[in-house]
Structures are given as C-alpha cells and as structure tokens.
Symmetry: C2
Subunit: 106 residues, 2 copies
DNA sequence: ACATTAGTTTATAAAATTGTAAACAATTAA
DNA sequence: TTAATTGTTTACAATTTTATAAACTAATGT
C-alpha cells in the first residue's frame, strides 16, 4: 500500500480522537464498558449526536459495540487507544506548564 | 479548569495529528530534526501549505521550532508524541488485520 | 541600496465536520 | 396488533479545515 494512503488512513484513526466529546467518551470508557444511555447522561449529549460520535469511533477501530436487546454497549477496543489518548493529554499538560512558566517570568 | 474545557483542549492537541500530511511529518521527524525545505521536498507539499501545517503542530505543542538565519528547523517536542502516533498506527494495523480476517472467512 | 532566498501571512473558495430535528428501524411490552 | 422504548439514519444549515495563490517580512548577498 502506498505511503500516502497509509498516512491518510492513520490520520483517519487520529481524527476519531479529535473532538472534545469523543475524548470525554474515551475517558468514561477507560474504567469499564458502558451502555448508550449511561454515556448520554454522563456527557449530556443528545442521542442523535452521541450515536454519530460513537459510530465514528467504532468505524475507525477505537471502540467495539455490543448489542443486547434494545440496548447498545460500548468499550475501548484495545488499551493502545487509552494509552495514546493519555500520552496526548500529557503533551497538553506539558504545553500548559510551559505557558505557565512563561507567565511567571513576565 | 472545567472538564469540558480540558476535553476540548485535549482534542485540539489530537487534531494536530489528524491529517495525513501531519502524520507524515511526524514520521519524518522521528529520526531527527529537519529543515523546512527538506520536509517540503520529502513530502512534496507546497511551502505555503507546509508552513501552515507546521505552525499548527508547533502551536499545539507537538513540535518545536528553531530559527537559524533564513532557515527554520523542526523537531518533535517530546517522545510522547511519537509514542502516541505509533500507538494509533497500531490501532489502524489491528483494524486492517481484522478486516482481512473477515474477508478470509467469506 | 537592491536583489535574492526562505518562510509566513492573508484571502478565499472548496471540502469536511458538526449539531439539530425529524423520520426510521428493531426489539420488547401490553 | 398496537404502543413504547432504544438507538440509528438522513437532511440540512452552520462552522471549521484545507489548498492555492498572492502579498508580505526578515535575513543575507552583491
């Protein structure tokens, strides 16, 4: 497969993390599997919008979906997703610290 | 800081990874620091577009920038960026493997 | 001083992402 | 069978992201 295509697919996976609500969902699912309704309540997102966010995350391989009767349950597909997300959070923290240090100097 | 704001900032950092060209840039910079022109040649991206991509990555804390005379050099700010990017690539690979397996069954 | 080189910034049109509301499907309950 | 519940899908307007081209800034060379 050509490099540019791989880079594009790789970016598509990263895009699935590139939204505040989706980061929040990863955070919620770090502990355990949750049902759709529980995620909706904890995030405060409308069912339509939530369903779309979750389907992006499943499509790109970040989450897996399990249906049981009327209910749908979601969990993180591999701990690599949690780890990557945590690392990106640390990149943010480091940047915030640097900004704080700069303010201290001034 | 409120949770939603943190999630949003965290997502902003992830967005800096969410483009094929920017993934390619991370890949190039995994080995060493590179100058603007070298990145432009290796990626084949126009100087204007490249400058915009690089500035997003610096702004969000993924890269650091060093100017020397007329030249600008870039490197990855912390290995956490490389690690996160590598993990996301592994998530992609795992998804591609699963798709391949599915095709085998059919 | 003037031209050249290296990259940045700005403007803008095209494309992609998002949130909302409404229609829809599938399962369970009465 | 009809109604209720749970989520999905679709349509669409609003916002954001992107690529391109042109104007611009800053440093260096003649």
């Amino acid at each position: 497969m050509s490099d540019k295509i791989i880079y594009h697919l790789h970016a598509e996976v990263c895009k699935a993390l590139a939204h505040g609500i989706r980061i929040e969902i990863i955070d919620l699912l770090n502990d355990d599997e949750l049902g759709f309704k529980e995620i909706a309540i904890k995030t405060g997102v409308s069912k339509s919008s939530l369903s779309q966010h979750l389907s992006i995350m499943v499509e790109k391989g970040l989450l897996t979906q399990r249906k049981e009767g009327l209910n749908t349950y979601y969990k993180i597909s591999t701990s690599k997703v949690s780890q990557a997300c945590q690392l990106m959070r640390e990149v943010l923290i480091e940047k915030l610290e640097k900004t704080k240090d700069l303010l201290h100097i001034l």
